[in-house]
């Protein structure tokens, strides 16, 4: 074992010299895109998800069925394939979009599909008595949703939604295949130039891990905030 370790050429795995240059370069050019794309698509995706979740629970088939089909497509096909179809397929029917636009649409649709099921589950978990109490105060459906159900459902959905957000941040790395310049994209540029991919991939992995750790801490604070009115 010791013998095996001593035969590994560590500098081939991680080149400190290269890392000193590559790390700030990737961070400076890629981090901003990774972050804003994540935040924007999460925000848009949550709005889509809320609408889809409510449509999915509607008594009207005309709303319910399209929502089901949408969710089924998003959850049933790989994100990478969805991005390819948007990127290479749309020009065929005469719609050519910037890579960044494809990225926003693709990721928003993805978040919208997954998060809608989380939100639907959270809404359904709120006891019937809450609906009845709001109704007995003569609140409308919208008022009940906004003032009574969603504030409580948010607390229920929060851990899952944060999970979705972490996945999303990491999924932005897929955008590199449709030439959106995010962190992995710049890492590959450096890798291609220096023929040392391992060093830059390890740097990128570390960056994603740090971002997710920070977000995780944020989640704990949010949960504490929302849990002030419960025992659990």
């Amino acid at each position: 074992m010791m013998n095996l370790l001593s035969t590994i050429q560590w500098e081939q795995l991680f080149d400190w010299q290269l890392a000193k240059e590559a790390a700030p370069y990737i961070l400076k050019n890629g981090l901003w895109n990774t972050m804003w794309i994540s935040v924007v698509t999460m925000t848009l995706g949550l709005l889509v998800a809320l609408v889809v979740a409510i449509a999915r629970m509607s008594p009207y088939r005309l709303l319910r069925y399209p929502a089901r089909v949408y969710i089924s497509i998003i959850r049933g096909t790989p994100l990478l394939v969805q991005l390819f179809i948007l990127y290479f397929g749309l020009p065929v029917i005469g719609i050519t979009l910037e890579p960044i636009t494809v990225a926003i649409i693709g990721l928003t649709a993805s978040v919208g599909g997954y998060a809608s099921e989380t939100i639907r589950g959270a809404i359904l978990s709120i006891p019937r008595g809450q609906w009845e109490a709001a109704t007995s105060l003569n609140m409308s459906y919208r008022q009940t949703m906004r003032r009574v159900i969603l504030p409580q459902a948010t607390r229920v959905a929060l851990p899952s939604l944060m999970n979705s957000f972490l996945s999303l941040v990491k999924d932005t790395s897929l955008l590199t295949v449709i030439t959106v310049p995010e962190m992995l994209y710049y890492a590959k540029i450096v890798g291609g130039r220096s023929y040392d991919y391992m060093t830059v991939y390890l740097i990128v992995a570390l960056y994603y891990w740090v971002i997710c750790t920070v977000l995780n801490a944020l989640q704990e604070r949010l949960e504490k905030h929302y849990n002030r009115f419960t025992n659990t």
Partner: protein, 257 residues
Amino acid sequence: MIEIKNLRKSFGKLDVLHDIDLTVEQGEVIAIIGPSGSGKSTFLRCLNSLETPTAGSIKIGAHTLKFNDKKPKEREIRSLRSQTAMVFQSFNLFPHLTALENVMEGLVTVQRISRETASTQAKGLLEKVGLAQKQDAFPIQLSGGQQQRVAIARALAMNPSVLLLDEPTSALDPELVGGVLAIIRELSKDKTQTMMIVTHEMNFAREVADRVIFMDEGKIIEMGTSDEVFGHPTHARTKQFLDQLYVGIEKNLGWGL
């Protein structure tokens, strides 16, 4: 003030209420008693359209709503409902709002009253139910009895023509029942607030109710002053129900009645 005619409610093939007729005067306190499954709660829930009756009509104040195969309009339901407020067996306070915010919610969201005015009104109501010091507590920090008192304040905030109370003390620990009943008793004293109470607290019903309704199998079997119904029930089923209760009490406490 309230006129209920031929009210019927079925869940699928199951008839829960059969042709209920009832007239209630302004300021009257009505207690509805009867075995579980007799339709008392369904009856009360029909009055604010938490359940939509299958047939018949309900008139509260100036609003009349007729029920038939056609679903009544949302607007009509809401104008009838605005005459009522409900107190639930399991309180159903909004857990993400403080006691004060719970009482304010209907005023601010539904009646569009400014937050300051609503807050002043809500504080007054919390004082009325003896919980002025608890205004900033969340429901989880209150006992069951306190929660129910907040729920009563929340219902009163809507200034209802008729207050509907659905077994308001059934979910409470025995030592907390008294406090809630005291509030309701207090409300009944000035004879202005019309109330309909579904309850299993027979002594309480006897004491506060102007009229008592005994229901069984979806029908009003017997109706009269509390002395009439409790003291001299005329119907065999009423007698049987009350006898069972007294026998229960006798066995439990060793009373000879």
